[in-house]
């Protein structure tokens, strides 16, 4: 009886591919991070797909599909019903179903990236949906962002601080911003990126590989 129950539970929650969330405010660079990761993951032989949660349009999904970087069929768009946080936290079932559908269509897929619609610092991913998640903020949002200690920034598995090249132009003390981020996160990882130049992308791919693909 106990064995049967355990089997049913395992069957209920079993997913084939590792599921990674990428959240963060509008314009912080979530889509840019995926665009930068695609060639790196491809070079490493990772079989992956992407689910986007555009808030209003299908802009992000279409941007990835038209990028020429990835088979457009490997990009699914899930409408967020005006609630970008609901679709990844309170009710992630549309995203779970989209992931299941990608797994069914691409049997070898080992990683699915879920891009959240742009939200605020309070947005977090449900662990029903993802195994591990990244939160992206950007330097141009101000160096006080880490000190605001939003749940997204504090609870994510990896914090990415993007657009570091803009720091001198927007009056941000980058070293202090990164130190604040590490301090409020209690030592959990923080990676600084300039996605336009590719800075930090390999480190993000390394973190994903180590955390959910078990490749060091």
């Amino acid at each position: 009886m106990l064995h049967a129950l355990r089997q049913a539970k395992a069957q209920a929650t079993a997913t084939v591919a590792a599921r990674v969330g990428i959240g963060g405010p509008v314009g912080s660079g979530k889509t840019a991070l995926i665009e930068a990761l695609i060639p790196v993951l491809q070079r490493r032989g990772v079989d992956f797909a992407v689910v986007t949660n555009d808030l209003v349009t299908k802009e992000d999904a279409e941007r990835l599909r038209r990028s020429g970087l990835i088979d457009p069929d490997r990009v699914s768009a899930v409408e967020a019903g005006a609630c970008p946080h609901t679709v990844i936290r309170e009710d992630p079932t549309l995203n779970i179903a989209a992931g299941d559908e990608l797994e069914a269509r691409f049997p070898g897929v080992e990683l699915i990236l879920f891009e959240s619609g742009g939200d605020n610092l309070a947005s977090t991913f449900s662990l029903d949906l993802v195994d591990w998640w990244i939160f992206v903020i950007d330097v141009a949002g101000g160096d006080d962002i880490p000190r605001k200690r939003g749940p997204g920034l504090l609870r994510c598995d990896l914090l990415v601080v993007n657009k570091i090249d803009l720091a001198p132009h927007v009056g941000v003390d980058l070293d202090r911003m990164l130190a604040d981020a590490r301090q409020v996160r209690g030592g959990k990882p923080v990676i600084a990126t300039n996605l336009k130049a590719g800075t930090g992308v390999e480190a993000v791919a390394d973190a994903i590989s180590a955390a959910v693909l078990f490749r060091i």
Binding site: V56, A80, G81, A82, C83, D91, T93, I96, E101
Partner: protein
């Protein structure tokens, strides 16, 4: 009281089933009629309940409820919905909502949901929401009438929630509309259904709105 409690559980908007991302055609209708008054909105909601839910969703729900664990019978109702829903966006939306509903119950370990999810994955079943609700709610031992109330209420509250999120009505205005719709839901559910009732739906403005919505540049909801 347990069947009633289970119905409340399933009608609760906090139960994750993907329904929040569907506007039931309201987003498209508001794009066509951005100046819709509260009275017009209430009449539109009533029309959805009378001319779509009662004559279509309810019949599919009841057939699925009575089919129970008969997967072939469930697949037959599913195919009938697919064949009789003219607008592609509504067909696809119903399947996607059904898939989300199944995903939730499958994750909760409901045995029939696991079987149905496998059926949908294999292409043996399409997974329309009314069919999945009927089958799963029967498996959860809801009372048949409670299941119908649950279905009608979630449609009504879904319409209101979508309109509130779109800024078309205020949160409390929406609740006044929902409150006004409750006697209609009660009356519709109390009306007996013929065993041979056929699926019928006719709300041209919503069908046109849903068809236009697919091509809309800006859209918050899946349909």
């Amino acid at each position: 009281m347990l069947p009633l409690l289970r119905a409340i559980w399933q009608a609760d908007a906090a139960f994750p089933s993907g329904a929040f991302a569907f506007s039931y055609g309201i987003e498209g209708a508001l794009a066509l009629r951005p100046d819709m008054s509260l009275g017009e909105f209430e009449r539109l909601c009533a029309a959805v309940l009378q001319q779509r839910w009662a004559s279509y969703d309810r019949i599919a729900l009841q057939r699925a409820f009575r089919a129970g664990r008969d997967l072939d019978a469930l697949a037959a109702v599913d195919r009938e919905i697919e064949a009789s829903t003219m607008i592609e966006a509504l067909r696809a939306g119903s399947r996607r909502n059904g898939a989300s509903f199944l995903a939730a119950h499958a994750r909760l370990g409901q045995p029939l949901a696991l079987k149905l999810r496998a059926q949908v994955k294999a292409g043996d079943c399409l997974g329309h929401i009314a069919v999945m609700q009927g089958a799963i709610w029967a498996a959860l031992q809801l009372d048949e009438q409670h299941a119908a109330l649950c279905s009608a209420y979630t449609v009504a509250s879904g319409l209101i929630t979508a309109a509130v999120r779109l800024g078309a009505v205020g949160a409390l205005q929406g609740q006044s509309v929902l409150q006004a719709l409750l006697p209609l839901i009660d009356a519709l559910v109390a009306t007996p259904l013929d065993d041979d009732a056929e699926l019928e739906s006719f709300i041209p403005i919503l069908d046109i709105a849903a068809a236009r919505h697919v091509h809309a540049e800006l859209r918050l909801f899946a349909n």
